[in-house]
């Protein structure tokens, strides 16, 4: 795990040396992955020629999206293409997104399309009174509409995380319903515990926004993430 800490520190330090406060999605997921958090399989493609190999490595269907620390709202800017089912679709998406970047520094992220109808969110904030605190709640568009989230002070233990699940109004989303399997609470708890640990071990991290976490069957997978440095 100390190795994960070092790997995360390296990515964070890289952004800092670049003079950036915001990590790209790919960097942010690298930090999360270093802490054992399950993230989408993905490849960063900087040139058109890399797309075919990336697509082959990950397998269809794909999500292709802009990856730039300067662009926080990719969907709103039309820089995300989902459910791509062939190499030609992937190449066309690459071209359109590169054009859409309009000169902003960045590349294209070719990632697995995680299938699941339930989206969750997690995060880390620094509170003036209690230091790093971990957030959990409903994800996707429901985060902003329902604001159904709750917090725990880091470090969290498993009991804290399990209790946090019960605190949101939409906690039933974690139960099996309509043929969906119940969420893997242990895995989800581990994710929250890791976020808290990340916040405590890296004072340079101001805020982490992990949204959505898609439940692929019972297994949580981080599909998008944002890390802001102090």
């Amino acid at each position: 795990m100390a190795e994960g800490t070092a790997r995360a520190a390296q990515i964070l330090e890289g952004a800092r040396l670049d003079g950036r406060r915001v990590l790209s999605e790919h960097e942010a997921k690298g930090v999360l992955a270093a802490y054992g958090i399950p993230v989408t399989r993905e490849v960063l493609a900087t040139a058109r020629g890399e797309v075919a190999a990336a697509a082959a490595a990950i397998g269809f269907p794909l999500v292709v999206k802009a990856c730039s620390p300067e662009i926080a709202h990719k969907t709103e800017r039309g820089l995300v293409r989902v459910d791509l089912r062939s190499e030609s679709e992937a190449l066309r998406a690459f071209d359109e997104i590169m054009a859409g970047l309009a000169g902003a520094p960045g590349a294209v992220l070719v990632q697995e399309m995680v299938r699941g109808s339930r989206e969750l969110a997690a995060g880390l904030v620094r509170d003036a009174d209690f230091g790093p605190c971990v957030m959990f709640g409903l994800g996707g568009i429901f985060t902003e509409i329902l604001h159904d989230v709750a917090f725990r002070k880091a470090p969290l233990d498993e009991a804290d995380a399990l209790d946090l699940f019960q605190e949101i109004k939409g906690w039933r989303i974690l139960e099996g319903a309509r043929g969906l399997p119940p969420a893997d609470r242990k895995e989800l708890a581990a994710l929250l515990i890791a976020l808290g640990r990340l916040g405590r071990e890296h004072p340079a991290v101001e805020e982490i926004d992990v949204n959505p976490i898609i439940l692929a069957g019972s297994r949580p997978v981080v599909a998008d993430a944002l890390i802001v440095l102090r």
Binding site: D127, D129, F130, C133, F151, K153
Partner: protein, 483 residues
């Protein structure tokens, strides 16, 4: 090592800043008068540089002039004189002092902040300071009382209250007096230059006189330390927290109030739940939670019986119960038959809620119904609503007073006896529905009735929703601690 015993139960109390002018309404005179009215057991030693006498008692010209040591001091001199007065008390061997004077860091001025820093420096040399900008300490056992509190109860009990706000401390102390909350210690710590929320919480966690700790906090000095203390104390006794300043407007008020910043609502809620503290949203809810924690045996109450006259009472009760995760189980047919035999006909219902049909259901009937309903193992607590005001028209019809006619003493005996006999506690709801100037007799009877129930250890609430919310707090706390 802080000598809290000499702080809360001082034998020799100096009051610095007492004027010889008997018409003075200064804080020093206020404290002296209040402590005397409370029958403070120790020696009171007033101090003022101009000397003289106050109410027959010699005023020392300086703290140094007091013969012998002192245990504790109340300091009410102007802000700029506070550090020197505090230092003099320290040299006199005082374990602590309360500084009621305002005009320190809460002003936000460089002068105010510098003055508070000097208070901290004296404290660091070995005297514990409560305040400044506070109402001080109320301890019923010693008779030490809050600045405006000459008429608080001298009866001790299990509830401690820590408050950044002086107003909140005196308000709860007075509220507790009529609601039946008995205090071990109340501390208004104001700016908290030295002693403040976390250290006092730890102390009260270890204090054998204290069974419940309630707190009003606007901001905490050290969130990590507070978290650890609250979690640790919460494992032993309930910690009830009202965090003020969570709204935007409230936050602005807090900054000017005690020189601390209010935190985010969602984070405070999460953190309080994490340490199994009981979060409440106002003074009334603090009082209601403290009453329930103090008077009900320490456990959860998942199922209740609900007894009262009138169908809508049962509906309201059902709604309040469900909102708090409490069930009102339908009693078994055989038990319903036995209860029904006691109830007036028609219009009654024995299902649970148990509708006793009218507000004149006699105390002996209530006693029997409570005994029977307790036979259902799912009933863990019984809630009785009594609308005593209805007796007013009955009393008028026979030319008697309400106090003579309303059988509150007998009802209190019935409820108290049933609780003892069955081992299942009883809560009484006495709604105060007639409060106009022409119904002072109703208010009078309600106050007496409340006292009669409290004398039998039966907690009384004004409203069913308040009562069940308080029971919900017990369920959450004990359920998570012991479950």
């Amino acid at each position: 090592m802080t000598d809290f015993e000499r702080i809360f139960h001082p034998q020799r109390l100096a009051i610095v800043g007492v004027s010889a002018d008997s018409r003075s309404i200064g804080f020093g005179n206020g404290i002296l008068v209040a402590c005397r009215a409370m029958g403070f057991a120790g020696e009171i030693l007033p101090v003022n540089p101009r000397g003289g006498t106050f109410a027959g008692q010699e005023i020392y010209r300086s703290v140094e002039d007091i013969p012998g040591d002192i245990d504790f001091a109340a300091i009410a001199v102007p802000a700029e004189s506070v550090p020197d007065a505090l230092e003099a008390c320290r040299r006199k061997g005082a374990a602590g002092a309360e500084v009621v004077t305002a005009g320190f860091a809460e002003l936000g001025t460089p002068e105010g902040i510098a003055l508070e820093q000097r208070v901290k420096e004296v404290a660091a040399r070995g005297i514990r300071v409560v305040g400044p900008n506070c109402f001080g300490i109320y301890c019923p056992r010693s008779g030490l009382t809050l600045l405006p509190g000459p008429d608080l109860s001298r009866e001790s009990g299990p509830v401690a209250f820590l408050s950044q706000s002086g107003g909140m401390s005196i308000d709860l102390a007075h509220t507790g007096k009529w609601m039946g909350i008995r205090f071990s210690k109340v501390v208004s710590f104001g700016n908290g230059a030295d002693l403040r929320e976390t250290e006092l919480l730890r102390y009260l966690g270890d204090d054998p006189e204290t069974g419940v700790v309630a707190m009003y906090v606007e901001g905490v000095e050290d969130g990590d330390a507070f978290f650890e203390a609250a979690r640790s104390v919460g494992r032993r006794k309930p910690v009830v927290v009202y965090k003020g300043g969570l709204s935007e407007a409230g936050r602005r008020a807090v900054v000017g109030h005690t020189a601390s910043m209010g935190g985010s609502r969602a984070i405070w809620s999460g953190v309080l739940r994490q340490v199994n503290a009981v979060q409440v949203g106002d003074l009334a809810e603090i009082a209601q939670a403290c009453l329930a924690f103090a008077l009900l045996p320490a456990r959860t109450y998942r199922g209740i019986s609900m007894i009262g006259g009138g169908g809508a009472l049962g509906v309201a009760a059902g709604d309040a119960a469900e909102a708090n995760g409490i069930s009102i189980p339908l009693l078994a047919p055989e038990l319903q038959d036995r209860i029904s035999a006691v109830l007036p006909k028609p219009g009654s219902s024995a299902g649970n809620p148990i509708d006793v049909a009218n507000p004149f259901f006699p105390p002996e009937g209530l006693r029997r119904v409570l005994q029977l309903a307790a036979e259902d193992p799912r009933v863990e607590l019984q809630v009785v609503t009594s609308l005593l005001y209805h007796y007013k028209s009955q009393a008028a019809a026979i030319g008697r007073s309400l106090a003579e006619v309303a059988p509150f003493r007998e009802l209190a005996e019935a409820a108290g006896d049933a609780a003892e006999a069955t081992g299942k506690p009883v809560i009484v709801i006495l709604p105060s529905l007639k409060r106009g100037g022409d119904d002072l007799d109703v208010l009078d009877v309600l106050a007496r009735a409340r006292q009669a129930f409290l004398d039998r250890g039966v907690p009384v609430f004004d409203d069913i929703a308040d009562a069940l919310r308080a029971v919900g707090h017990l369920n959450a706390y004990y359920g998570r601690r012991d479950g």
